[in-house]
Point group: C2
Chain length 242, copies 2
Amino acid sequence: MTDDRWVAPAVLLAVDLVILTLRRSRLHVLLVERGVEPYRGASALPGGFLRHPEEDLTAAAHRELSEEANLDAETLRLEQLGVYGEPGRDPRGRVVSVAYLAIAPRLPEPTAGTDAADARWQPVDRVLSGELELAFDHRRIVADGVERARVTLEHSAIATAFCGPIFTITELQEVYEAVWGIPLDPRNFYRKVQKTDGFIVPVGSARKAATGRPARLFKAGPRAVLYPPMVRPAESSSTEEQ
Amino acid sequence: MTDDRWVAPAVLLAVDLVILTLRRSRLHVLLVERGVEPYRGASALPGGFLRHPEEDLTAAAHRELSEEANLDAETLRLEQLGVYGEPGRDPRGRVVSVAYLAIAPRLPEPTAGTDAADARWQPVDRVLSGELELAFDHRRIVADGVERARVTLEHSAIATAFCGPIFTITELQEVYEAVWGIPLDPRNFYRKVQKTDGFIVPVGSARKAATGRPARLFKAGPRAVLYPPMVRPAESSSTEEQ
DNA sequence: CTAATAGTGTCTCTCAGACAGTATTCT
DNA sequence: AGAATACTGTCTGAGAGACACTATTAG
């Protein structure tokens, strides 16, 4: 930035949150029902305007998280997803929104917070397919968030954040299958995860299902970045043009 | 976003550009000398405030590109890098800046544009090492831009954008070496690039250096996303904690 | 026993990395 | 010829994917 000879126009700044979790082996996103115009009654991502002129963006994201979804903001790591600032995306005027992505362990049904009329988990499929319509350009933001989560799963140990503090390898596999949307071979997954240094560490053992051999339990290991990465199988993509 | 019961504070929105190119086999970033306070006389990324309240962010980025650096904005693909919005990053008040990344072919020395007192290419090493100090938090933005470029080089055919419209495989290799900051084996690089489907396509032949066998010439292929990706060799990383 | 899930061993194919060797130009 | 750069062939080791096989539980 170099120059402010002239009066620069001010804009309204908002934060939006894409909070993903796993429920019944399907990827879900947290949505609220808008209590005010515009799009009153429609589903939307939790979020809102900056409260004070000096509020930090990340702080605002955490604040909205606890206000709108009653989720313990401290335990969730928020990652900046992008800026959505097209003129006309908000009928109230020029609103530029910074989107954040969070990946959450299995959480209880959120009780509606102070701000939102309602907050609940919805399967991302329903949103991406357009079956469930969202306010503003929030469907696009969800799509970007899911794609980001897919890539992040490859290179970071964030998948363990989808599980509880203790989990089986099969549960971890279900995370990858749900987010990537493809089935994986349990045997190869088992080997791969085990030999990825620092990804998971064993703790004890428990019997799970009514049948079958009990699975060993693990917790997240010390490594945040995975090397080698978990590789997502090639998409059956036709030639992509640039 | 859900609620605007109260007056939301407005902020000033700026765009900053990280424009990378290759000169003499080294990665360079375009910097301008600030003509106004604050940080008058210091080096900074090209960029500036939104001009009208309804200006699109990408449009503003393109505008600044041509105004401040006299670069043909249309030919450069801009990629959103992130938002930098810490309170206090700009002494004039609350300024939130959206950073864009562009990767440019070898370009002529830019003539100073209308806005900037001066614009010139500087090696990124000098910036990242701190030898050359930048205004605001621009050093951080450059660092993020370089890291993004490194990752992007792995998965996309953007490396060809560093070269001219026609190039040799050795020239392409120099791009990877400069951006990644490591040497690569020419023989293996040759094979790898050749068999990555749709990455580059041959055209003719030319003699280059004063000595040696002439190199075949290529142009960018139809593929924008590379599969399999070009893999960057493992860093000699110690254990990273989360 | 069977059914069901957890976990192991092993084969094959591909690919990255190392590097010897060949091709084509210059002086 | 010799030097320099472009390009090819081949070996090796690591890892992904496929899948037969063993282990441990419930009923």
